[in-house]
Symmetry: D4
Subunit: 238 residues, 8 copies
């Protein structure tokens, strides 16, 4: 894994040490978690990643951030439902530094990542997961609003469930969907609890606990609303 | 609600005010919650209920209590799995006071109470529910270990599910079973979380929260391990 | 309730799988939980339900949603206190699809559903419960602000309490009302904790725990502020 | 409460600084909380308090501790239900130091402290409260098992409730009794939650929260099972 | 407190059952908790209380409510820091119903209620307590910002502490002040935790738990920020 | 899903519905969770699985259960550290039913599952994970006590970390190890929090939350002490 | 630090008892916690501290407060990132009272306080810590965004870590950084959890618990986001 | 502290990687946390540490472990109150490996570590802290049972408090003592919450939260009952 390029392992921007070496260690560059960062900070980190010719993914950003960034960086894409900004193939675009070559993965990984949601309100989290998995080179298919209160909606897609290589199940409220799916298929299942619900859902605690206690073995869980983490884990598996 | 009988509304034993009037107000006499009471206290309250010719139900008792009670009171029955002691038809038995007539309900209520469990370990709670519902005059059927990780076990009993007048669903771990059942039938569903599980099940908190947040509408919930309460509520509904 | 029409079991709108089959399985069509859905999503799902000639109920919606919907769908009714939009008899109205026949229940169920609140601030939740029970064909009566700090207010309505077939008790703060009511009547009691209170009420946790631990047996509980669930459960019981 | 004696403010036993001055500051000597202390430590502290001619109260002790102490100290009294050891009038007894004069209050305070419990299992906590209040010179009356599921049991004692100067209400499970009592009387009410209950009672958390959120104003609360604290507060009020 | 008047026990306004009988049972009329009620609801309840010639106290109201109410009701007073509206002597004022005689207590109770705060930010809660106690006829004195990090500030007022008949201690953060005060005086102490603090103060949970676990016996506790309850309890004691 | 074999989908033992079909759906037979089941129940279920010629795995069993089982079933293996009983190749063994052919996987899956622990006390959970993964056909290597307080212990094994196909990280206390490992490798990481720790570790809550909030993306989490689930998930991935 | 002036121990402003004696007892004057105080209150307290010729530090203030204060007090400095206002050398400035001499420490303490953050979003808390430590006379260096997911960023600064006299580690999410640092150096480490994160980070609870359970001994912890407390503790150590 | 010996950085015992390098990095060798380890595991790790001529400290061990260890290792010391086994000067003793030279610190650090407790029951935790600090070369003094309910006990030791270089404050229940001490002295204060208390103390949560929210700045906190951590941190400061 040795490399000749004099690329530094990290770039110190004062407010951030951009981990440029991460792509070599873990297979994907540092991803910018937008929440709580100013748009100027996001822009500076994004430009440094583009300069290093690495794919760019920014999560949890409001539309204003996109408006600001595209005035500084060319070619950005925006998935508003997923609240993500990204730039898959950096060589085609140029920030003010003028990148040349992308380190983005060219070849699609084999097998399908299937993203399910229990309800309509879970979709933004599912979109974040789907986009992330796609950024990591996975083929992704989504299937929304197939919660357990109407099992036939899920069971009518049994074929697709069995064909998937990894299934990401996004659900709020009582978080029962991963257990049901886990009893139907043999592939790895990544459960994402969401903050959809009210009262004793306690911001996603109810589905989080349910998923951690799933009676279907082999279900693993990520943080509440962490679509990114689920998509990333799916990418690691693929 | 005026009554000629000189039966007192309650009997003061010092450590207990036995609510003899309850059977008239709410349709079933006071039930003795055994946990935390001495066997002498239980015996004294039980004898007072028998004296009033009311059916007797004692929940949450260890076998020692039964051994002690049957030496003082004739004709007691013991359901060890349910941890209950009971005496359905008090006229046939005699405590030292020699009762004559039972106030126990003679006619079975119509319709079936179906008691389901997610797993084998939930059975004691289910047995408490089933016994309680039977004591209240309900016909009861049980169906155990039909959790969501193997849906076919549940779905193969669809007919029975649809015929039930009330379904009590007892489940620990992620507590997903009531949601699945709630999406299959039109009758009332009473969900009982159990303390079966470990770690982040937090003594039954996980299934309790899951059941309270069920996406299947019309599911109501009782306390963790409260089989008695579920059976009693089923009796009230019937 | 059998139907000849080749009505599909569910309709896939991309962001939602409308469960058109639910009315046959559980006796009432899918209800739209408005919170977190865009008004366009709500409208599309609502139109699909109307097209299937099923009664429509949308809960947790702000007045803006109603303003938008009535510009697209004729004949909608709005209960602002309950934050619900509904359309009971779909045959009289026409969406752009022009429905013909309602599947709404014609015959009122027998017996009365009584909805109580502990205080004035609990009323919106109680209204949601009352409206839902009415939508399911129940006769409903409400009795507000009869909390336990002034017992005479409750006891002066003893007659009505005893006549009810189901009682829904809505209360925040310490949630004591269901226990008191549970000791007075023989019918099923559904307790609804509300987020009314402050400090250690913890958003409704205090009355939720109180209701789950009620010393009056046979009280069952739904989620915090879940008036809809309580009304729905009452409808199932009736 | 004499002030001339050169009695030190505190006595340092190494493992304890006995606060001998407390009786002068707060009106009652230091009370020994037995839980977690060895019987030798308890004995040494007790002897130091007796030496200072102050009344002795030891709470939360097992019978073994009493067996040990009475072999070292004469005249001790034991209330096993309350799990307390005490010595009200120290002048009549002699430890090895041979005390002469008691600082125990001679004259009974006016007005009655009434101690209620919701159930039978709450009695030990109530006994601790009653004993403590008596030690502080109060007249105390107890009334047990008058919980809200059978209101008539409470209401039949309305006269006694109204005559009380302070009411201590001890209750587990949903902890509703203080709210009901608080709506019936004008005197101060001290609520004591107990750990009686199971599942979502969470060791007394449910009644604690209920009591803190009581809709009956003027109810104040002490720690779970803290009968001592309630009795002491009643003594301060009287 | 006259008893001949044919005054009804409660007045049913639809959204509220005003408990007009409360003043006779518990010594003070119903108090309006303003949070969550509309200004029209508050006005209607207030007018009914005034009509019954009872003192009026409305807590937790924003300035807008006061602006609205004084346009309907004459003579209202507003304590903005305490967020309360009140009308002590109702005979001097006239709502549209024109009251004649106040039931407000004329004679001041003996003894002093002392209200302390740990910090400056706790003052609004303390003001609510002080106003409530005054409304109940108590003499009240306040002493603010005397927290335990600078003990000399408290100890320099030892004389006042010892003279008080009841002390209300209002504190956020770690809530240590009641324990220190409780070790200095013999009178009853009512502790009020506040939501002052951040992070692991968890909205007042930290001081609430601290106060419930106070090592100074006889401290009783009310809900977080419940100045009203503390003032009311002080009034009951006096 | 039609199958010619007359093998039933599940076997109803009264207290258990053994899911014999699971191996076909999810690739591995039902695993017996021993906790809370009687040894007779475990034996009966085990015999039914063996009769179906499926591999047997029983988790969370005390040595007594093993002593009992081996008197009824031949050839059982016991991993005491992992608290598991198993029987990998059922054809070589005979229960009283005399099995003939094993459905256990013959061919080892490619790639290595690496199981790490933060400390010595985490080993039993790690052993459960390792055994489960081996039962599912994985090659497994363990590396214990390489927690973050001595990073060099971990870093000296960098080569092995990078070669692993899946890494299971088992850690209690602050649960930091998965984040550090997640930053070093590109393979999927399954984090298992343990109940090792005390005080504010709250039975494993601290490492559970830490792992769910890992700043190293792609870490997924299972329940506290759930070595089985982690091993199973690793098997699904492989 | 002895002073001859008859400076009072505290100054009573009605809403605040300014603890002027604190500088003598604990080595630094009272610091104004701005949150929840009005700008007028802050100004009055600040002026009283300046009058006493003590250094001034105000934390948790919004820019509006600064705008207001500088119109009343000369020479104030504002660190917007840290949300602090301060005045280090009071003799050079004059409030309306015209101070003469500063009590601010002239001589820098020896040794370096190093402030680390796990991420960019933790910087405001770190700045508060750094400013506080500087106000107390410490030399401070900061190193930001060196979280554990990219260990090389931290390890490349090993030299600086080893030279520090005290290290303050500020981190949100899983809070793993203090454990890693604690295993690398011998100096005292003060860990500051932040509310950076979402979902099961529960407002900083996750890193707080992680830090309290650190396997690296000798790590001590302050409240969530309490940069001030960490800086102050570092100052006490130095 | 550099050493020429080719001592390995860690020793792999299979179940443990003994971190022999730690003494060089952090100034003190690895300490054995006894809880959850078998006595054989403890012995093996202990012998490896002794072989490396490093001081030995084993915490949280029952007397049985000591009985076992002293049969294998010569010269061990046992502090039963602190539940610790230790061996300060390893050169004088010989395990089977026969050590020659101790790496234990010879010269006492300057300044005093003062260990306070709120009550008698907190002493075991305090003893663990004191022993640890002594092992690290500190001079230690203890002062027990000086809780805030009797302030004079603390204030009478003001001189000692002011002379201390570091103060460790160990307290359960409401955990108020560190705040009071923090307002009296200028040195660093390390607060140790204990699980002393009951009910809403929630196993030490109450004092933990209180200490984290201390209004006395500069107080840092360790885990519940973590006397070792406090002593270690004190050693790092000294």
């Amino acid at each position: 894994m040795a490399k000749k390029s004099p690329e530094p392992q990290s770039a110190d921007l004062g407010f951030a040490h951009v981990d440029l070496h991460r792509v070599k260690r873990v297979g994907f560059p540092e991803v910018i978690f937008g929440e709580g960062k100013s748009k100027e900070q996001i822009a500076a980190i994004a430009e440094r990643i583009i300069l290093a010719k690495q794919p760019l993914l920014i999560t949890r950003v409001e539309p204003e951030v996109y408006a600001y960034l595209r005035s500084r960086i060319e070619g950005l894409q925006h998935n508003e439902k997923a609240r993500c900004i990204y730039l898959e193939k950096t060589e085609k675009h140029s920030s003010k530094q003028g990148n040349k070559k992308s380190s983005s993965s060219k070849t699609k990984k084999q097998g399908l990542v299937l993203v399910l949601t229990g309800g309509t309100t879970d979709i933004p989290v599912a979109e974040e997961a789907a986009l992330t998995a796609r950024m990591m080179g996975c083929q992704v298919k989504t299937l929304y609003d197939v919660g357990v209160a109407g099992l036939h909606r899920l069971i009518s897609h049994s074929e697709e469930l069995r064909k998937a290589a990894v299934i990401i199940v996004v659900a709020g409220m009582e978080g029962a969907l991963p257990s049901v799916v886990g009893g139907l298929v043999a592939c790895p299942i990544i459960a994402v609890p969401t903050s959809v619900g009210y009262g004793s859902a306690f911001g996603g605690l109810a589905p989080l606990l349910a998923m951690l206690n799933s009676c279907a073995p082999g279900v693993t869980v990520v943080n509440i609303n962490n679509g990114f983490g689920a998509g990333y884990a799916a990418g690691r598996i693929m």
